[in-house]
């Protein structure tokens, strides 16, 4: 059966790639310019942010590398700007471009981590709820209803407040980011849970699921092997759109001062710190992080929009 011919082997190895390239999803992607542009933007921002250590012209954490004499320099193309600091410097003399790159890294990290957290929690609860049914379903779904009647920011503020109340002050700095991820994740799980529950309730009555039960699979095996994979396309769409929301929420919370500690640059803290000086004419410290936030969130949202259309069989 297996061919030992090198060319044949190479072709076999490439077959999945070829199949992927010809798949409906990739075809739709290639023919949707805004999806290509969005993905390129997201990838560019993500790669730059991940490589912050090597890409950023200055290290904003290295106190020796910046000078108070360089503070409040405008962007390079404005009169008084220095080519060393393309987007200018903040009140402490830190390079704004470097701050943004490091800030985007933290924002993306918190966004992704909270999406993963919310996804695992939501998909798990949705699967349990739809598959087991009965009072478990009622409990999970009523909890979800209650959760939906809270604004996401309120949940985050509550979790944050409780965590701060229970932990000694010296630990606040360390737990700030996990608490942030937890509270943003908590605000997103309901969407996954509801969607997954709906699909599971349809799928579990289908005959292939009954067949797996008769074949002798245990309940959880049927749920994980047969039902779960069939819920994945809508979950992918929700996760993408949720990523944009999570990044925004992180920025909002950081702006309100309950997110990442002010010592760590995230897009939200940069906007907040910069906004305090905006009326003294130093617009660049807050404008550039805001611009990046808008571009990033818009690109992720457009990507999610495209994905929803591309994965919806009714629109094809």
């Amino acid at each position: 059966m297996t061919s030992q011919h090198p060319a044949g082997q190479a072709r076999r190895l490439l077959r999945p790639v070829a199949r992927l390239w010809q798949s409906d999803l990739v075809w739709s992607f290639r023919n949707t310019p805004y999806a290509v542009v969005s993905l390129a933007l997201v990838l560019a921002i993500a790669v730059t942010a991940l490589c912050a250590h090597w890409v950023a012209p200055h290290d904003p954490f290295d106190l020796a590398s910046f000078n108070i004499l360089d503070s409040e320099l405008p962007p390079a193309w404005v009169e008084g700007g220095s080519p060393e600091f393309i987007l200018g410097t903040d009140t402490q003399g830190r390079d704004v471009l470097s701050l943004i790159i490091y800030g985007a890294r933290l924002s993306l990290l918190v966004g992704l981590a909270s999406v993963v957290f919310g996804l695992v929690l939501g998909v798990g609860l949705g699967l349990l709820s739809g598959y087991v049914g009965g009072w478990v379903d009622a409990l999970v779904m009523r909890t979800a209803d209650v959760k939906l009647s809270f604004p996401a920011i309120l949940v985050a503020l509550l979790v944050n407040g409780v965590a701060r109340g229970f932990l000694p002050p010296e630990m606040h700095g360390q737990i700030a980011i996990p608490v942030l991820i937890f509270s943003i994740g908590m605000s997103g799980w309901v969407h996954y849970a509801r969607t997954v529950r709906g699909i599971v309730m349809v799928e579990r009555r289908k005959e292939y699921v009954l067949a797996a039960q008769i074949v002798g699979r245990k309940g959880w095996e049927v749920a994980l092997l047969h039902v779960l994979p069939n819920t994945m396309s809508p979950v992918t769409v929700i996760a993408t759109i949720n990523l944009a929301t999570a990044i925004l929420l992180e920025a909002t919370l950081s702006f309100l001062g309950v997110g990442v500690p002010p010592t760590e640059p995230s897009l939200g803290t940069l906007i907040k710190v910069g906004s305090e000086y905006m009326f003294s004419g130093i617009w660049w410290v807050t404008a550039f992080p805001s611009l990046l936030l808008v571009v990033l969130v818009l690109a992720v949202n457009l990507l999610g929009d495209w994905l929803r259309d591309a994965l919806n069989p009714n629109l094809q």
């Binding site: 005959e207 292939y208 009954l210 067949a211 074949v215 002798g216 047969h226 069939n230």
Partner: protein, 341 residues
């Protein structure tokens, strides 16, 4: 097979005694509390006694909603029983303790479904679908051995061995039904429950599947419980036929006898409704009235509102099963007729 569990040759493979399954279809408690309404129980299957001899085929026929599919699902263990008992090869199946012995016995009862488009996981390749029972019940089997078993099974059901690498959507309805049969056979079953296996297929394909089922029965000594409302398919494949009406078995017997000489008025009406090429001009009288709701079946014999032979007794009492040869009939009119004859 171990010799100590060898049942006497006479013992049926599947014995159902007073089998019943009720579904609670009441509105949720808060609706009952605020909007009125009471508890409602749907008696899908209500007291069925049935024996299925080894190596034979028993068909259950009846209109939609008569409980035949529920009975099939009870036999395979998808629902727990509300009352009664099911014994398979002498072992009580109504106890569901999830033990190793229970799993080993359940393996021997497999099922083929009605809709070949819903019964195969769309994301799995055929090799994985057919290999699943082997993976579950013979976990020691190696990759190569499993692959060759899958190939064998595919050939047994009349498909090419290269079908293994493809996905279900690449096959026609008839081919999918063959894959479904191969999956069931992979568990090495003794009893196959076939829930309308041909009713979603084209007529020409139906015959192929029925022929395949017969061949497999001869080759592997399988026992079939065949659910259908297609009476010509039933006549072709069955040794025994049971007729169900609103959750009860109203008549059963050997297939030829039942088709030639139906006793119960419902069976007669049911057989009359089938077009017959041999007698094109035959008067076919439809059964009067509608099937009553199974939520509130008429008292007495369920068939009494539509029955031409209904007597006063039929409206109050439920007739018992009267044995006629190897079969039985539940009807007061037939009872009296036999008594006077």
């Amino acid at each position: 097979m171990s010799a100590d569990r060898q049942a006497p040759a006479e013992r049926p493979l599947l014995e159902m005694r007073d089998v019943a399954r009720f579904f609670d279809v009441s509105p949720p408690w808060y609706q009952r509390l605020f909007g009125g309404g009471s508890r409602r129980v749907l008696r899908a299957v209500d007291g069925v006694d049935l024996d299925l001899p080894r190596g034979r085929t028993l068909s259950l026929v009846g209109e939609s909603g008569c409980g035949k599919s529920t009975l099939a699902r009870l036999a395979v263990g998808l629902y727990p029983l509300s009352r009664g008992s099911i014994r398979f090869d002498g072992m009580e199946m109504s106890v569901r303790d999830g033990s190793f012995a229970e799993r080993r016995t359940r393996r021997r009862i497999q099922m083929i479904f009605q809709d070949p488009f819903a019964s195969l996981n769309p994301r799995w390749r055929v090799a994985r679908i057919i290999g699943e029972p082997i993976r579950v019940h013979e976990p020691g089997t190696g990759e190569a051995e499993r692959r060759s078993r899958v190939r064998e099974l595919l050939e047994m059901v009349g498909l090419d061995a290269d079908a293994a690498a493809r996905y279900p959507h690449q096959f026609s309805g008839g081919q999918r039904q063959r894959i479904s049969i191969a999956r069931a056979l992979a568990a090495r079953p003794d009893l196959l429950i076939c829930d309308e296996p041909t009713s979603a297929l084209d007529v020409s394909v139906q015959a192929q599947i029925l022929n395949l089922m017969r061949e497999l029965q001869e080759e592997l000594g399988l026992t079939y419980l065949f659910i259908s409302h297609d009476l010509s398919a039933v006549r072709f494949i069955s040794d025994y036929v049971g007729v169900m009406y609103l959750g009860r078995l109203v008549e059963w017997g050997e297939a030829e006898t039942l088709f030639r000489n139906p006793r119960h008025p419902y069976t007669r009406k049911l057989l009359e409704s089938v077009p017959n090429l041999a007698e094109p001009g035959r008067a076919r009288t439809p059964i009067a009235g509608e099937v009553p709701s199974p939520l509130s079946p008429p008292p007495g014999c369920h068939f009494n509102p539509r029955c031409p032979l209904a007597m006063a007794k039929c409206r109050t009492d439920t007739p018992g099963m009267v044995r006629t040869g190897p079969g039985g009939v539940r009807c007061f009119a037939v009872e009296e007729e036999t008594a006077t004859a």
